[in-house]
């Protein structure tokens, strides 16, 4: 054991291999009888390690269960992406709602529902607002004082637009299937069946869809 590595490196190895806190007592059990460092020595080595880690990607902290090497909060912007889920997809209902808000703003939820023929779920409105694409502009001065919605700067930025003007006009949109045949626009008969109940009643959205 003459060429044993420095104590702080043994502790570094053990703490990282453990992946969680180690108490001083536990650290002592790692050493062969006769070469067990006392707690003062352990504390000294840990203090050195703490210093070594200054400004690095990890830090050494004392927690209830002992000492632990952890990733500092300043690294969260990168590290949290490690476990990021793959981006999901927005539902058709959400996209339609967004499109109507973009073209008809300021517009209330009731007006959106009237155009779409189905109710607009609260979760869709919340998602659009959380995403920062839609905001409340005020309230219409009618019974119930419904909120009026419009699009935001972030909406324009996301779609790389300088202003809403750059969106094709509704008339142009009508010819969209000629411009982009690959979009395969449907005729009403083929359109999402949710929009048509036999009696024309408004059908609620699937609460699961975002």
């Amino acid at each position: 054991m003459n060429d044993s590595p420095p104590l702080k490196h043994i502790l570094e190895a053990a703490l990282l291999a453990a992946g969680g806190p180690l108490s001083l007592d536990h650290m002592q059990t790692l050493f062969a009888p006769g070469s067990v460092p006392d707690k003062t020595a352990l504390r000294g080595a840990l203090a050195q390690l703490q210093q070594d880690y200054h400004g690095r990607g990890v830090e050494l902290v004392e927690v209830g269960g002992g000492w632990r090497i952890q990733v500092p909060a300043s690294m969260a912007p990168w590290v949290s992406r490690l476990w990021e889920e793959k981006p999901g997809r927005y539902s058709r209902a959400l996209l339609e709602t967004l499109a109507i808000i973009a073209y008809r703003q300021p517009v209330t939820r009731g007006e959106i529902e009237e155009i779409r023929g189905v109710s607009v779920s609260t979760s869709i409105m919340r998602t659009l607002q959380e995403r920062g694409w839609v905001r409340t502009l005020g309230h219409r001065d009618v019974p119930g004082r419904p909120a009026m919605y419009g699009t935001t700067r972030a909406f324009l930025d996301h779609f790389n637009l300088k202003s809403l003007d750059q969106l094709p006009s509704l008339a142009e949109l009508r010819d969209l299937d000629e411009i982009h045949p690959e979009l395969d626009l449907k005729f009403p008969e083929d359109a999402a069946p949710e929009a048509k109940s036999p009696d024309g009643a408004v059908i609620g959205e699937d609460p699961q869809e975002r």
């Binding site: 927005y90 339609e96 703003q105 502009l137 996301h158 006009s169 509704l170």
Partner: protein, 273 residues
């Protein structure tokens, strides 16, 4: 290191090093096969340590420091059969492969013993060739397995390093939407709206709509804003026209109200509460 040896890892040589009394079916084993120096008691462990007939054969050959390519077939066959008999006696699970190998050895032995015409000797392949090839082939993987076992590996020699990152839960990545998707959605809804509802989506000037939103946002219901504050001369004539149209549209939709105390006095605008 030695105490960690398990039966499966024990090589025949190591097994030989152990000693005590051997018993087969409760009876003392009195007659051991020739060349078979077996540590009593360890016999079973020893025999089980072989990974098959090729392994056993390799052991027999290596024990005599012979080259695999120069097998003395007669003596190896005899030794092999003795082990196989012993395995039978011990009722070890004797894989059929051991018996197949016994047959192969017997066949080779008989071919070697048969006299061959001198001329034919050059063309005839050595009857041991196929067996030698198989032994070599097996041995190279046996060695490869030993090498592989000595590679540093995770959990035994190397350990994963990880640091606590609690509190850094996965952010959810927002779905991406392309402009095309958005337009396709609108085209869909328009088609439906035209067919099914009395609502008419008219051709709109989007800049007016946009300006309506912007204007509404600037206005408050609690205080008045001067009309001319809503117009931005730096936008030029078109900008002013758009702002003005937006304001008219807002008035038409009863979203804002205008107040003027007297003719030519400043016009004030406020959102309808």
């Amino acid at each position: 290191m030695n105490e960690q040896l398990t039966a499966e890892r024990m090589t025949p040589e190591e097994a030989v090093a152990v000693t005590s009394t051997v018993r087969v079916r409760g009876e003392r084993l009195t007659e051991l096969p020739r060349d078979l120096y077996i540590p009593p008691d360890a016999l079973e462990v020893f025999l089980e340590a072989f990974e098959g007939p090729l392994d056993l054969l390799l052991y027999l050959i290596r024990r005599q420091n012979l080259d695999v390519r120069d097998i003395p077939i007669a003596s190896i066959t005899r030794q092999y059969m003795e082990y196989v008999e012993l395995m039978k006696d011990l009722r070890l699970e004797l894989a059929a492969e051991y018996l197949v190998m016994a047959a192969v050895l017997a066949e080779i032995k008989s071919r070697i013993l048969l006299p061959r015409p001198v001329q034919a000797e050059e063309e005839d392949e050595d009857p041991r060739a196929e067996l030698v090839r198989r032994l070599q082939e097996y041995e190279r993987y046996k060695t490869a397995a030993e090498n592989m076992d000595s590679l540093p590996r995770m959990g035994r020699d190397l350990f994963g390093a990880s640091a606590c990152s609690r509190g850094m839960e996965a952010g959810r990545r927002e779905p991406e939407v392309s402009l095309q998707e958005l337009l396709a959605a609108l085209a869909d809804v328009m088609a439906r709206a035209e067919m099914f509802s009395h609502h008419h989506v008219q051709r709109e000037t989007l800049s007016v709509r946009e300006r309506m939103s912007q204007t509404l946002e600037r206005l408050s219901a609690d205080s008045f804003t001067q009309f001319h504050d809503l117009l931005r001369p730096e936008e030029g004539r078109r900008g002013i026209v758009v702002s003005f149209l937006a304001l008219l549209e807002l008035i038409k939709e009863a979203l804002v109200e205008l107040v003027q105390s007297e003719p030519f006095a400043p016009i004030y605008v406020r959102a309808r509460a």
